[in-house]
């Protein structure tokens, strides 16, 4: 491709890169001949769905492949060094020193056995860039620039003693330790809450600009990449779709695939008429207080869920959303308050509920991967609840399983005897839905069911849930932290913070001012496609803080 920014020298060039992954005994292509050019101090956004090869390509820029992968063709030139021809020792000498990496989950990527400062100083000391004492002093400076609280002390904590957003910033500081020329950011904010994400995004953007570091920013979130990148490259199944500078790409994407990515957020469920006064809700949470140990996680929360309605429960991690689900399902008996089902109180403990009461309320989980027994075939996974709750057997059971597979838009003949490992992420989530439906429930709790999925796949799941709701008169409780999802699927919204309901009401009202201050903060923190959004937002917030 042509040199887009001739003013700055080229730092990294990938030419016709091919990467293969090993599955069983054969090598299959992951990256199929991608070119990439990065200038000094420039930020390139790599976007695409999972499986597009973003991380693989990002790691290849460090001359690194994960186990079971290999670079099979092309050249990687980093500042005049041929990374493919270099010895492993030479590449090791660059990693951490001149090219650094920031991983998706800082909580998993910091070693739990060592203090932050030990991990920070490892690269500078081992690469001989500075002494341990210098590294420690420098760390405080970088922690301060990353706006971490207590920069002098935070390094002496273990990773589990630091919050997720702070860890992610500490990891960026760690990547900066040797003042590298290039940092690969691999989905650094995907695991964070929206309000935390903003701080991390702002800190990363500033520090990259201050040190004039080049960066490859990998994400599946278009709005995020719009804030961070100078240029955007779109990948699809290991191939480049197109590349342009950020503003051009946002304003006028050329390729159809890019246009579909941009259009994803437009799905919205039609507005439902308000529920008639006096209707008995399917599920009614009444003044529930619950918690573990001495602490109350939920503090006097109440809300109703009606037939054919979706109530979205939103809030950040730790706000008590999932605990509310555990109380409704009877996994965690509340200290005070009650759960009514069709107007009648449910026993607090699931062990005291009748089989029919259990059947009525089903759950779909966030991680379909871990929620499905990997040793069971779909026939058993979906058949078990139908057998247990409805007493189906033999042909009736098989017919029911086939019906359910039809419902979730999977071809029964092809899928009925597959194992979960033979499915894609979206298909697994569909099986989770079928398993819930198999019990013929009235009410389903969807716990972050789309947050582990790509936008296009998630969209399919949302549409499917929507269709099933009207077909079977289901009531949904939709737990999520993603306000875009709320916008597309909810009828009513319950906003939770620190175990309390701060605001609840019909969706339309929720997205119109005036808001509760916390709802306002949540809403304004959702990244928008406008590349100036983050800058404007930070300026507004600073101005407000100045006034206040």
């Amino acid at each position: 491709m042509k040199d887009t920014n001739p003013a700055k020298p080229v730092l990294l060039t990938l030419r016709d890169i091919h990467i293969e992954g090993r599955s069983e005994e054969t090598w299959s292509p992951i990256i199929k001949g991608v070119d990439l050019t990065l200038h000094k101090g420039e930020v390139l956004g790599l976007i695409g769905e999972s499986g597009a090869g973003k991380s693989t390509l990002g790691l290849a820029a460090m001359g690194f492949t994960r186990d079971g992968c290999r670079i099979s063709g092309g050249t990687i030139d980093f500042d005049g060094i041929d990374l493919r021809a270099a010895t492993e020792a030479q590449r090791r000498g660059l990693r951490g020193k001149r090219i650094a990496y920031v991983a998706q989950s800082a909580a998993a990527s910091f070693n739990p056995a060592h203090k932050l400062i030990d991990q920070y100083s490892e690269a500078p000391v081992q690469h001989g860039v500075m002494s341990r004492a210098e590294a420690e002093r420098d760390a405080v400076e970088l922690y301060r620039r990353m706006r971490l609280p207590n920069p002098e002390e935070i390094g002496f904590r273990y990773p589990h003693q630091v919050s997720g957003g702070q860890l992610q910033r500490a990891m960026t500081a760690m990547a900066m330790a040797c003042r590298p020329d290039l940092i690969i950011f691999d989905e650094p904010t995907t695991a964070l809450d929206v309000t935390t994400q903003i701080e991390v995004l702002a800190a990363i953007r500033d520090i990259v600009a201050q040190f004039d570091t080049a960066a490859i920013y990998i994400t599946h979130d278009l709005a995020v990449v719009a804030q961070m990148a100078d240029r955007i490259k779109v990948l699809l199944r290991g191939d480049e779709v197109e590349e342009a500078d950020t503003r051009t790409m946002l304003a006028a994407p050329k390729e159809d695939y890019t246009k579909t990515l941009w259009a994803v957020r437009s799905y919205a469920r039609p507005v439902q008429p308000p529920v008639a006064k006096g209707t008995t809700p399917v599920v009614s949470v009444r003044n529930v207080t619950a918690g573990y140990g001495a602490a109350d996680i939920l503090k006097d929360i109440s809300f109703d869920i009606h037939k054919r309605r979706t109530v979205a429960v939103v809030g950040e991690s730790g706000s008590g959303k999932s605990t509310a689900a555990r109380v409704i399902t009877g996994l965690l008996p509340p200290r005070r308050g009650a759960i009514l089902f069709d107007g009648a109180p449910l026993p607090a403990d699931y062990r005291q509920r009748s089989r029919d009461q259990l059947r009525q309320a089903q759950m779909i989980y966030q991680m379909a991967d871990t929620a499905l027994n990997p040793k069971l075939r779909l026939r058993e996974l979906i058949g078990r609840p139908a057998q247990m709750y409805l007493g189906l057997n033999g042909k009736a059971l098989t017919d029911r399983i086939r019906d359910l597979l039809h419902l979730i838009e999977l071809e029964p003949d092809k899928f009925i005897d597959r194992l979960p490992s033979e499915l894609s992420g979206g298909q697994k989530q569909r099986i989770g839905i079928a398993r819930a439906l198999a019990a013929e429930p009235k009410f389903i709790i969807c716990d972050e069911v789309t947050s582990a999925l790509d936008q296009l796949v998630a969209e399919g799941i949302l549409k499917l849930l929507d269709r099933l709701q009207s077909e079977f008169d289901l009531a949904y409780m939709f737990i999520t932290h993603d306000l875009a999802t709320v916008r597309s699927i909810a009828d009513e919204v319950v906003v939770m913070q620190n175990g309390k309901v701060v605001e609840k009401g019909p969706k339309l009202e929720m997205f119109e001012p005036p808001h509760d201050p916390y709802t306002e903060l949540l809403l304004s923190s959702v990244p928008e496609m406008d590349p100036d959004w983050l800058t404007k937002l930070l300026r507004e917030r600073a101005a407000k803080a100045g006034k206040g």
């Binding site: 090791r92 990693r95 739990p112 056995a113 690269a123």
Partner: protein, 317 residues
């Protein structure tokens, strides 16, 4: 740190409780054995009067629970009673034997623990290489043979040629160096028997972690493979390794009967075997209790050390 002390106190309490239960089982089991002790000792020709008198002398006429508590309180004060076979206090009898057994166990542990950790780490570092496969194959074959077989092979190879003695007799006059020399073959036998388990656990625990994101992070920071394993994987793999090491150490104390017999080594195991054949039950009970205590104590230590190896448990939020 108070968390740790509470935990240690709890585990100690549980350990004492376990030992109590074991002591009941040991006592109960010897009670259940058929035959009358006094009759056995005096022989078939003894008159019923002498047997009754002897029973009284031994305290066998008392109810079982009284004898149990007498025995237990004695044991708590280090008094295990007297041997029926030679009338000597059991505590004296055991003291030298226990010293010998611990000496051999420590000797074998001093060789096998560092050796298996080293081999395990190297096997993890060079996993799937020829080295890894060779070490694994050798460790597995040595664990697959019965101990006495390994012992005889070693005697055949190393004692026939006169390099090491095939009998490990010990007495008070043997110096430390001489003791190491005399017990080399039993120690080597035990090493061969326990190394495989610890080495394979070390290797597996480390390899299990190599797919973790923080290991990838360490590699992406440009750290050398050896450093990645020692500094990043090993500290997180300690808990399972410690547990297996403790199990094997306990085995070195309690499971050495066969090896002691083969090498005529005067340890607790041999004493136990002798006492069983002589129906010297007070000695059997005492030795069994010591074996149980060794198991409980080593597992307790392993639990505490595993906890200490996990910063999430000692440095709370």
């Amino acid at each position: 740190m108070s968390v740790i002390w509470t935990m240690i106190a709890k585990r100690l309490g549980l350990g004492v409780l376990t030992l109590f239960v074991i002591s009941v089982i040991i006592f109960g089991a010897t009670e259940l054995l058929p035959g009358d002790l006094a009759q056995n000792i005096l022989g078939q020709s003894a008159t019923p009067e002498t047997v009754a008198a002897f029973r009284k002398e031994l305290g066998l006429d008392l109810p079982a629970y009284t004898r149990y508590f007498n025995w237990l309180f004695g044991a708590l004060q280090g008094d295990f009673g007297t041997s029926l076979a030679n009338k000597r206090p059991i505590a004296d009898l055991i003291a030298t034997r226990l010293g010998n057994t611990l000496f051999l166990a420590l000797y074998a542990a001093a060789i096998s623990v560092p050796l298996s950790l080293l081999l395990g780490i190297l096997a993890a570092l060079y996993r799937n290489s020829i080295f890894d496969r060779t070490v694994n194959a050798m460790a597995l074959s040595s664990i697959s043979f019965p101990e006495f077989f390994v012992a005889y092979i070693l005697i055949f190879v190393l004692a026939q040629s006169g390099l090491f003695p095939s009998m490990s007799r010990m007495d008070a006059t043997v110096g430390f160096g001489e003791a190491l020399y005399r017990t080399f073959l039993p120690a080597l036998t035990l090493t061969l028997v326990v190394t495989a388990h610890m080495m394979r656990m070390t290797r597996a625990a480390i390899i299990n972690l190599l797919a973790s994101p923080y290991i990838e992070m360490a590699r992406l920071k440009g750290m050398k493979p050896m450093r990645v394993i020692l500094k990043h994987a090993l500290p997180n793999a300690l808990a399972p390794i410690i547990t297996v090491v403790a199990l094997n150490l306990a085995y070195l104390v309690t499971g050495v009967v066969v090896v002691e017999v083969v090498f005529v080594y005067p340890g607790l195991g041999q004493l136990m075997v002798d006492s069983v054949s002589k129906r010297d039950f007070p000695v059997v009970q005492a030795v069994a209790l010591i074996f149980a205590a060794a198991y409980v104590l080593l597992n307790l230590t392993a639990d505490v050390l595993s906890t200490l190896s996990n910063p999430r448990l000692i440095h709370r939020k």
